[in-house]
Amino acid sequence: MTQASQNQDQQSSSHGLLDALHEEQDLLFNAYFEGDLTAQEREEFETRLDEDEGFRRNYDEFVNIMSGLRTLPFEFAPDDFVDKVESRIRRRSNGRFFAESLLYSSRVPYEVIALVMMVVMAAAWMLMESPRDSGLRTADLTIDKSAPNQGNGAKETPPAKP
Protein backbone atom coordinates (compact mmCIF):
# COMPACT_ATOMS: atom_id res chain seq x y z
CA MET A 1 0.00 0.00 0.00
CA THR A 2 1.48 3.40 -0.98
CA GLN A 3 1.87 6.34 1.40
CA ALA A 4 -0.74 8.35 -0.54
CA SER A 5 -3.39 5.66 -0.31
CA GLN A 6 -2.62 5.20 3.40
CA ASN A 7 -3.15 8.95 3.95
CA GLN A 8 -6.39 8.80 1.98
CA ASP A 9 -7.62 5.90 4.11
CA GLN A 10 -6.68 7.76 7.30
CA GLN A 11 -8.49 10.88 6.10
CA SER A 12 -11.65 9.01 5.17
CA SER A 13 -11.66 7.11 8.45
CA SER A 14 -11.20 10.37 10.40
CA HIS A 15 -14.07 11.91 8.39
CA GLY A 16 -16.19 8.89 9.18
CA LEU A 17 -15.32 9.22 12.86
CA LEU A 18 -16.22 12.92 12.82
CA ASP A 19 -19.51 12.19 11.10
CA ALA A 20 -20.29 9.53 13.68
CA LEU A 21 -19.45 11.97 16.50
CA HIS A 22 -21.64 14.64 14.94
CA GLU A 23 -24.48 12.20 14.54
CA GLU A 24 -24.12 11.07 18.12
CA GLN A 25 -24.15 14.69 19.26
CA ASP A 26 -27.24 15.42 17.17
CA LEU A 27 -28.96 12.37 18.61
CA LEU A 28 -28.16 13.59 22.12
CA PHE A 29 -29.39 17.12 21.39
CA ASN A 30 -32.59 15.78 19.92
CA ALA A 31 -33.21 13.36 22.78
CA TYR A 32 -32.55 16.04 25.42
CA PHE A 33 -34.73 18.54 23.59
CA GLU A 34 -37.56 16.01 23.39
CA GLY A 35 -37.11 14.95 27.03
CA ASP A 36 -36.29 11.39 26.01
CA LEU A 37 -33.19 11.00 28.21
CA THR A 38 -33.23 9.13 31.50
CA ALA A 39 -32.51 11.09 34.68
CA GLN A 40 -28.89 9.93 34.73
CA GLU A 41 -28.34 10.66 31.02
CA ARG A 42 -29.85 14.09 31.50
CA GLU A 43 -27.53 14.81 34.39
CA GLU A 44 -24.50 13.74 32.35
CA PHE A 45 -25.67 15.85 29.43
CA GLU A 46 -26.09 18.93 31.61
CA THR A 47 -22.67 18.42 33.18
CA ARG A 48 -21.19 18.28 29.70
CA LEU A 49 -23.06 21.44 28.75
CA ASP A 50 -21.45 23.20 31.72
CA GLU A 51 -17.97 21.94 31.05
CA ASP A 52 -17.65 21.76 27.26
CA GLU A 53 -17.99 25.18 25.65
CA GLY A 54 -18.11 23.87 22.07
CA PHE A 55 -20.77 21.37 23.03
CA ARG A 56 -22.79 24.13 24.73
CA ARG A 57 -22.48 26.42 21.69
CA ASN A 58 -23.63 23.68 19.34
CA TYR A 59 -26.57 22.90 21.56
CA ASP A 60 -27.52 26.58 21.81
CA GLU A 61 -27.51 26.82 18.02
CA PHE A 62 -29.73 23.76 17.79
CA VAL A 63 -32.15 25.27 20.34
CA ASN A 64 -32.14 28.61 18.49
CA ILE A 65 -33.14 26.88 15.26
CA MET A 66 -35.88 24.91 17.01
CA SER A 67 -37.16 28.08 18.69
CA GLY A 68 -37.02 29.88 15.35
CA LEU A 69 -39.27 27.18 13.88
CA ARG A 70 -41.76 27.51 16.71
CA THR A 71 -41.90 31.27 16.45
CA LEU A 72 -42.42 31.47 12.71
CA PRO A 73 -45.34 33.89 12.24
CA PHE A 74 -48.78 32.34 11.97
CA GLU A 75 -50.13 32.76 8.47
CA PHE A 76 -53.84 33.57 8.38
CA ALA A 77 -56.14 32.57 5.56
CA PRO A 78 -57.45 35.53 3.50
CA ASP A 79 -60.67 37.21 4.67
CA ASP A 80 -62.66 35.99 1.68
CA PHE A 81 -61.50 32.41 2.11
CA VAL A 82 -64.89 31.01 3.17
CA ASP A 83 -66.67 32.87 0.36
CA LYS A 84 -64.27 31.39 -2.16
CA VAL A 85 -64.80 27.87 -0.84
CA GLU A 86 -68.59 28.33 -1.00
CA SER A 87 -68.32 29.72 -4.50
CA ARG A 88 -66.26 26.72 -5.65
CA ILE A 89 -68.77 24.30 -4.15
CA ARG A 90 -71.66 26.22 -5.73
CA ARG A 91 -69.98 26.15 -9.14
CA ARG A 92 -69.06 22.47 -9.00
CA SER A 93 -72.48 21.43 -7.73
CA ASN A 94 -74.23 23.53 -10.42
CA GLY A 95 -75.87 25.62 -7.74
CA ARG A 96 -77.15 22.70 -5.66
CA PHE A 97 -75.26 23.91 -2.63
CA PHE A 98 -74.75 27.41 -1.32
CA ALA A 99 -77.12 28.86 -3.92
CA GLU A 100 -77.51 32.57 -3.43
CA SER A 101 -80.73 33.29 -1.58
CA LEU A 102 -82.93 35.98 -3.08
CA LEU A 103 -83.80 37.19 0.39
CA TYR A 104 -80.19 37.90 1.19
CA SER A 105 -79.16 38.97 -2.24
CA SER A 106 -77.46 42.34 -2.32
CA ARG A 107 -79.26 43.17 -5.61
CA VAL A 108 -82.99 43.88 -5.55
CA PRO A 109 -84.65 41.25 -7.81
CA TYR A 110 -86.91 43.67 -9.74
CA GLU A 111 -88.01 41.11 -12.34
CA VAL A 112 -89.19 38.72 -9.62
CA ILE A 113 -91.01 41.54 -7.81
CA ALA A 114 -92.69 42.61 -11.10
CA LEU A 115 -93.82 39.05 -11.79
CA VAL A 116 -95.23 38.66 -8.29
CA MET A 117 -97.05 42.00 -8.59
CA MET A 118 -98.63 40.97 -11.90
CA VAL A 119 -99.85 37.69 -10.42
CA VAL A 120 -101.29 39.51 -7.39
CA MET A 121 -103.03 42.10 -9.58
CA ALA A 122 -104.48 39.42 -11.86
CA ALA A 123 -105.77 37.51 -8.86
CA ALA A 124 -107.31 40.68 -7.39
CA TRP A 125 -109.00 41.58 -10.67
CA MET A 126 -110.48 38.10 -11.00
CA LEU A 127 -111.78 38.28 -7.45
CA MET A 128 -113.41 41.71 -8.02
CA GLU A 129 -115.08 40.68 -11.27
CA SER A 130 -116.64 37.53 -9.89
CA PRO A 131 -120.34 37.82 -8.59
CA ARG A 132 -120.57 38.54 -4.91
CA ASP A 133 -123.82 36.56 -4.35
CA SER A 134 -123.40 33.18 -5.82
CA GLY A 135 -127.05 32.34 -4.80
CA LEU A 136 -128.38 34.60 -7.64
CA ARG A 137 -127.06 32.33 -10.29
CA THR A 138 -128.84 29.33 -8.92
CA ALA A 139 -132.24 31.03 -8.27
CA ASP A 140 -135.19 29.53 -10.13
CA LEU A 141 -136.55 32.36 -12.34
CA THR A 142 -139.19 30.39 -14.30
CA ILE A 143 -142.76 31.90 -14.24
CA ASP A 144 -145.45 29.69 -12.94
CA LYS A 145 -148.64 30.69 -14.93
CA SER A 146 -150.94 28.46 -12.90
CA ALA A 147 -150.50 30.66 -9.82
CA PRO A 148 -152.27 34.05 -10.72
CA ASN A 149 -151.87 35.67 -7.32
CA GLN A 150 -148.20 35.43 -7.35
CA GLY A 151 -146.90 38.36 -9.35
CA ASN A 152 -143.56 37.32 -10.59
CA GLY A 153 -144.41 33.65 -10.53
CA ALA A 154 -141.38 32.85 -8.52
CA LYS A 155 -141.88 30.13 -6.05
CA GLU A 156 -142.31 31.47 -2.59
CA THR A 157 -142.53 29.70 0.64
CA PRO A 158 -145.68 30.59 2.67
CA PRO A 159 -145.05 32.84 5.64
CA ALA A 160 -144.79 30.99 8.85
CA LYS A 161 -147.89 31.17 11.09
CA PRO A 162 -147.37 33.08 14.28
Partner: protein, 171 residues
Protein backbone atom coordinates in the same frame (compact mmCIF):
# COMPACT_ATOMS: atom_id res chain seq x y z
CA UNK B 1 -61.10 28.73 13.21
CA UNK B 2 -59.93 25.72 11.22
CA UNK B 3 -59.39 27.59 7.97
CA UNK B 4 -56.47 29.50 9.50
CA UNK B 5 -54.90 26.38 10.98
CA UNK B 6 -55.22 24.49 7.71
CA UNK B 7 -53.93 27.46 5.73
CA UNK B 8 -50.91 27.82 8.03
CA UNK B 9 -50.00 24.12 7.74
CA UNK B 10 -50.38 24.08 4.00
CA UNK B 11 -48.50 27.36 3.64
CA UNK B 12 -45.56 26.07 5.68
CA UNK B 13 -45.42 22.89 3.61
CA UNK B 14 -45.72 24.65 0.25
CA UNK B 15 -44.16 28.02 1.11
CA UNK B 16 -46.33 29.84 -1.40
CA UNK B 17 -49.43 31.84 -0.47
CA UNK B 18 -51.30 31.37 -3.73
CA UNK B 19 -50.74 27.64 -3.87
CA UNK B 20 -51.53 27.37 -0.16
CA UNK B 21 -54.82 29.21 -0.62
CA UNK B 22 -55.81 27.01 -3.53
CA UNK B 23 -54.89 23.81 -1.69
CA UNK B 24 -56.60 24.93 1.53
CA UNK B 25 -59.80 25.61 -0.43
CA UNK B 26 -59.60 22.12 -1.94
CA UNK B 27 -59.17 20.72 1.57
CA UNK B 28 -62.48 22.20 2.69
CA UNK B 29 -64.22 21.06 -0.49
CA UNK B 30 -62.99 17.52 0.23
CA UNK B 31 -64.26 17.84 3.80
CA UNK B 32 -67.64 19.00 2.48
CA UNK B 33 -67.85 16.09 0.06
CA UNK B 34 -66.67 13.40 2.44
CA UNK B 35 -67.91 14.57 5.82
CA UNK B 36 -70.01 11.38 6.04
CA UNK B 37 -66.76 9.39 6.07
CA UNK B 38 -65.66 11.03 9.31
CA UNK B 39 -66.54 8.37 11.83
CA UNK B 40 -65.37 10.17 14.93
CA UNK B 41 -62.69 7.58 15.79
CA UNK B 42 -60.09 10.32 15.80
CA UNK B 43 -60.35 14.01 16.56
CA UNK B 44 -61.88 16.08 13.79
CA UNK B 45 -58.69 18.15 13.62
CA UNK B 46 -56.61 15.00 13.02
CA UNK B 47 -58.90 13.98 10.15
CA UNK B 48 -58.79 17.49 8.75
CA UNK B 49 -54.98 17.75 8.97
CA UNK B 50 -54.66 14.37 7.28
CA UNK B 51 -56.65 15.68 4.34
CA UNK B 52 -54.58 18.88 4.36
CA UNK B 53 -51.21 17.10 4.35
CA UNK B 54 -52.38 14.69 1.64
CA UNK B 55 -53.48 17.59 -0.55
CA UNK B 56 -50.23 19.46 0.08
CA UNK B 57 -48.18 16.35 -0.73
CA UNK B 58 -50.11 15.81 -3.95
CA UNK B 59 -49.62 19.45 -4.92
CA UNK B 60 -45.87 19.17 -4.38
CA UNK B 61 -45.78 16.08 -6.59
CA UNK B 62 -47.84 17.81 -9.26
CA UNK B 63 -45.64 20.91 -9.19
CA UNK B 64 -42.48 18.82 -9.32
CA UNK B 65 -43.79 16.92 -12.33
CA UNK B 66 -44.77 20.16 -14.01
CA UNK B 67 -41.39 21.70 -13.22
CA UNK B 68 -39.57 18.73 -14.71
CA UNK B 69 -41.76 18.89 -17.79
CA UNK B 70 -40.96 22.51 -18.33
CA UNK B 71 -37.23 21.82 -18.01
CA UNK B 72 -36.80 24.44 -15.38
CA UNK B 73 -33.39 25.03 -13.90
CA UNK B 74 -32.70 22.96 -10.85
CA UNK B 75 -30.47 24.46 -8.24
CA UNK B 76 -27.96 22.22 -6.48
CA UNK B 77 -28.11 21.81 -2.76
CA UNK B 78 -25.15 20.43 -0.87
CA UNK B 79 -27.25 18.74 1.79
CA UNK B 80 -27.97 15.09 1.18
CA UNK B 81 -31.40 15.24 2.76
CA UNK B 82 -32.52 18.20 0.69
CA UNK B 83 -34.64 18.09 -2.38
CA UNK B 84 -35.50 20.61 -5.03
CA UNK B 85 -38.63 22.43 -4.07
CA UNK B 86 -40.54 23.79 -7.05
CA UNK B 87 -41.74 26.58 -4.82
CA UNK B 88 -38.32 27.37 -3.43
CA UNK B 89 -37.99 30.39 -5.67
CA UNK B 90 -40.52 32.19 -3.51
CA UNK B 91 -38.04 32.16 -0.63
CA UNK B 92 -35.59 34.46 -2.29
CA UNK B 93 -38.01 37.26 -3.09
CA UNK B 94 -36.12 40.39 -2.09
CA UNK B 95 -39.13 42.26 -0.71
CA UNK B 96 -39.93 39.48 1.74
CA UNK B 97 -36.31 38.96 2.69
CA UNK B 98 -35.92 42.61 3.49
CA UNK B 99 -39.00 42.66 5.65
CA UNK B 100 -38.57 39.53 7.63
CA UNK B 101 -36.03 38.52 10.16
CA UNK B 102 -33.01 36.93 8.54
CA UNK B 103 -32.87 33.83 10.70
CA UNK B 104 -36.58 33.31 10.19
CA UNK B 105 -36.08 33.60 6.43
CA UNK B 106 -33.23 31.12 6.46
CA UNK B 107 -35.25 28.70 8.57
CA UNK B 108 -38.21 28.97 6.20
CA UNK B 109 -35.87 28.50 3.25
CA UNK B 110 -34.35 25.46 4.93
CA UNK B 111 -37.79 24.11 5.66
CA UNK B 112 -38.83 24.46 2.04
CA UNK B 113 -35.72 22.59 0.92
CA UNK B 114 -36.38 19.55 3.09
CA UNK B 115 -37.79 16.42 1.53
CA UNK B 116 -41.56 16.77 1.51
CA UNK B 117 -42.14 13.82 3.86
CA UNK B 118 -39.63 15.31 6.31
CA UNK B 119 -41.04 18.79 5.92
CA UNK B 120 -44.59 17.86 6.82
CA UNK B 121 -43.42 16.13 9.99
CA UNK B 122 -41.39 19.19 11.05
CA UNK B 123 -44.41 21.40 10.36
CA UNK B 124 -46.73 19.20 12.39
CA UNK B 125 -44.32 18.69 15.29
CA UNK B 126 -42.26 21.86 15.56
CA UNK B 127 -44.69 24.44 14.21
CA UNK B 128 -48.09 23.01 15.07
CA UNK B 129 -46.79 21.35 18.24
CA UNK B 130 -48.75 18.13 17.73
CA UNK B 131 -47.97 14.93 19.62
CA UNK B 132 -46.22 11.97 18.01
CA UNK B 133 -49.45 10.01 18.25
CA UNK B 134 -51.39 12.69 16.38
CA UNK B 135 -48.68 12.95 13.73
CA UNK B 136 -48.71 9.18 13.40
CA UNK B 137 -52.48 9.24 12.84
CA UNK B 138 -52.25 12.09 10.36
CA UNK B 139 -49.43 10.65 8.28
CA UNK B 140 -50.28 6.97 8.70
CA UNK B 141 -46.70 6.27 9.80
CA UNK B 142 -45.53 4.36 12.86
CA UNK B 143 -44.41 6.57 15.75
CA UNK B 144 -40.86 5.26 15.44
CA UNK B 145 -40.76 6.30 11.78
CA UNK B 146 -42.10 9.72 12.70
CA UNK B 147 -39.36 10.15 15.30
CA UNK B 148 -36.57 9.05 13.00
CA UNK B 149 -37.82 11.25 10.16
CA UNK B 150 -38.10 14.18 12.52
CA UNK B 151 -34.53 13.62 13.66
CA UNK B 152 -33.22 13.46 10.07
CA UNK B 153 -35.21 16.56 9.18
CA UNK B 154 -33.90 18.54 12.15
CA UNK B 155 -30.30 17.58 11.39
CA UNK B 156 -30.72 18.60 7.73
CA UNK B 157 -32.33 21.87 8.77
CA UNK B 158 -29.60 22.57 11.33
CA UNK B 159 -26.89 22.01 8.72
CA UNK B 160 -28.71 24.23 6.24
CA UNK B 161 -29.06 27.08 8.73
CA UNK B 162 -25.56 26.75 10.17
CA UNK B 163 -24.12 27.00 6.66
CA UNK B 164 -25.94 30.31 6.10
CA UNK B 165 -26.26 32.00 9.45
CA UNK B 166 -23.50 33.02 11.82
CA UNK B 167 -24.89 32.65 15.31
CA UNK B 168 -21.92 34.45 16.86
CA UNK B 169 -22.48 37.63 14.88
CA UNK B 170 -26.22 37.20 14.56
CA UNK B 171 -26.21 37.16 10.77
Amino acid sequence: MYQHKVFNIVFRILNDRQEAEDVAQEVFITVFKHIDQFRGDAKFSTWLYRIATNHARNRIKYLSRRARKQHQDISDTPEGDMEVNPLGAAVSRPDRQAQANQLEEIIQAGLSQLQSEHREIVVLRDIENLSYQEISEITGLAEGTVKSRLFRARVALKEFVQARYDFQEGS
